[in-house]
């Protein structure tokens, strides 16, 4: 073999190795990348030429494509996941059922504890006042006490004057029972006109229970010096007396003393063995009142 032949073979081999590649790319319909042409290690980037041809018109696009089995399964899974997420969210939003509190007032009866009963000071002394004794022992007072005893709550509802009015009438509004302590249902509201300014003025007119009872023939024993000395506290008041207090938050308080000394109780819309003024176990709740009226209706013996 001549040197010329060897040279030609070598040259054609080298030509195939270096120049033949673009030819190969062209054959495979792959566009060579010349951006890194100087880099010997650069690899060709596959940039396949996509033949752009006009697509045939879609015949089924307007209608719904038939669902494959996988699509239906996927839909079911999504549905279930959504359902679980909703249930979880609701559970998180709903607070756990809280504990029910145990009963505080069930089976609690107010029993007069003699240790804490208000002490009536000195002898009663009412025997020297026959018109007062006649009132205390009258059937009208008994009827009033009977009504009050059977119509009250366990604790105050804010209707003390209403319940005392009814007891004095022996009936509910509007008519009083014949022979009751008062002829007409007492007018005026509240017991004492020291209500806050938020209460309308027309609600305060004639609001003093003392005036209303005086109009029915009652007498305030605290206003008379001969009887006022005998009343040191509510327990000293005679049986059947209507006790009127100033103070409190909503226009005073009124209650009926059901017995002489400390035997009975004090009733309005609630009943207590002690008066509202001298209920030591009530702490400072009882310190906010002031006794301003001890009302009885003098009667002939």
């Amino acid at each position: 073999m001549s040197y010329t032949k060897i040279f030609v073979i070598m040259a054609s081999t080298l030509l195939f190795l270096f120049v033949g590649k673009p030819v190969a790319f062209a054959q495979q319909d792959i566009e060579p990348d010349f951006s890194n042409f100087d880099d010997p290690d650069a690899k060709p980037v596959n940039k396949a030429k996509v033949a752009v041809e006009a697509e045939p018109p879609c015949g089924t696009c307007s209608g719904e494509l038939p669902k494959t089995k996988n699509q239906e399964q996927l839909k079911t899974v999504i549905k279930e996941t959504k359902k679980q997420a909703t249930v979880k969210a609701v559970k998180e939003k709903t607070p756990p059922k809280r504990k029910q509190e145990s009963c505080v007032t069930c089976g609690r009866k107010k029993v007069a504890d003699k240790t804490y009963l208000e002490k009536a000071t000195g002898e009663s002394g009412w025997n020297q006042f026959p018109e007062i004794m006649a009132y205390s022992n009258s059937s009208q007072v008994e009827n009033m006490i009977a009504w009050a005893t059977s119509h009250h709550f366990s604790s105050s509802q804010g209707y003390c004057y209403r319940y005392v009015k009814q007891a004095l009438c022996g009936a509910e509004r509007p008519k009083c029972k014949p022979g009751a302590l008062v002829k007409e249902y007492l007018k005026g509201n509240p017991v004492f006109a020291d209500l806050p300014s938020s209460v309308p003025q027309n609600k305060r007119i004639g609001s003093n229970a003392i005036k209303a009872l005086e109009a029915e023939g009652f007498k305030n024993l605290l206003a008379d010096p001969t009887t006022a000395d005998l009343i040191k506290n509510p327990a000293s008041a005679p049986k059947g007396a209507i006790l009127i207090y100033a103070g409190g938050k909503n226009g005073g308080h009124i209650e009926i003393k059901t017995s002489e000394r400390t035997k009975g109780s004090y009733i309005s819309d609630f009943s207590e063995p002690n008066s509202i003024l001298k209920n030591e176990l009530a702490g400072r709740a009882s310190h906010r009142y002031q006794l301003v009226g001890v009302m009885i209706k003098p009667m002939g013996s």
Binding site: R98, K99, Q100, E101, S102, C103, V104, T105, C106, R108, K110, D113, T115, Y116, F153, S154, S155, S156, Q157, G158, Y159, C160, Y161, R162, K165, L186, G188, N189, P190, V191, L195, S198, V199, K203, R204, S207, G248, K249, N250, G251, G252, H253, I254, D269, F270, S271, E272, I276, N279, E280, L281, A282, G283, R284, A285, S286, R288
Partner: protein, 145 residues
């Protein structure tokens, strides 16, 4: 040195007039009220005999402090429940329901919260207390006659 007696007298006077019950937040108030039991109220007889201050007065002070706290903070259902419990406990010895009078303005502004909270009370307590709230609410508007 002249300022020392002044500071001393100032600190003494400020402590003398300081309010004994002040709650920093709602949670503190809830915890305090939740701690009261029927036994506390029953124990007042013994405290009265010994000349000690009564638990019922402590409840009143707490309710007053909460009323002050709720001027700035919002009432929660839990606190409303504890206030209702405190009122029921106080009513065992105080028939005039002074505790309800203390918190009446709060009740008037948050009736729905109080009613919802009352669902957790015993039905007997719930009826008693809600009647008292409604009656006192009416009393404040229309008087007691």
């Amino acid at each position: 040195m002249k300022i020392m007696p002044f500071l001393l007298s100032l600190s003494i006077s400020s402590s003398a007039f300081a309010d004994p019950t002040v709650f920093k937040n709602i949670t503190e108030a809830e915890t305090k009220l939740a701690g009261y039991t029927v036994a506390d109220i029953d124990g007042d007889k013994q405290r009265l005999a010994e000349g000690k201050d009564l638990k019922i007065n402590e409840i009143f002070s707490d309710l007053e402090a909460i009323s002050a706290l709720l001027v700035k903070q919002k009432l929660t259902e839990e606190l409303a429940l504890q206030m209702e419990r405190a009122c029921l406990l106080a009513s065992l010895h105080d028939g005039s329901n002074y505790a309800v009078d203390i918190i009446l303005t709060i009740y008037q502004k948050n009736k729905s919260i109080f009613e919802k909270a009352a669902q957790r009370l015993h039905p007997y307590d719930r009826k008693n207390l809600m009647d008292v709230f409604k009656g006192k609410d009416n009393e404040s508007k229309n008087g007691n006659g």
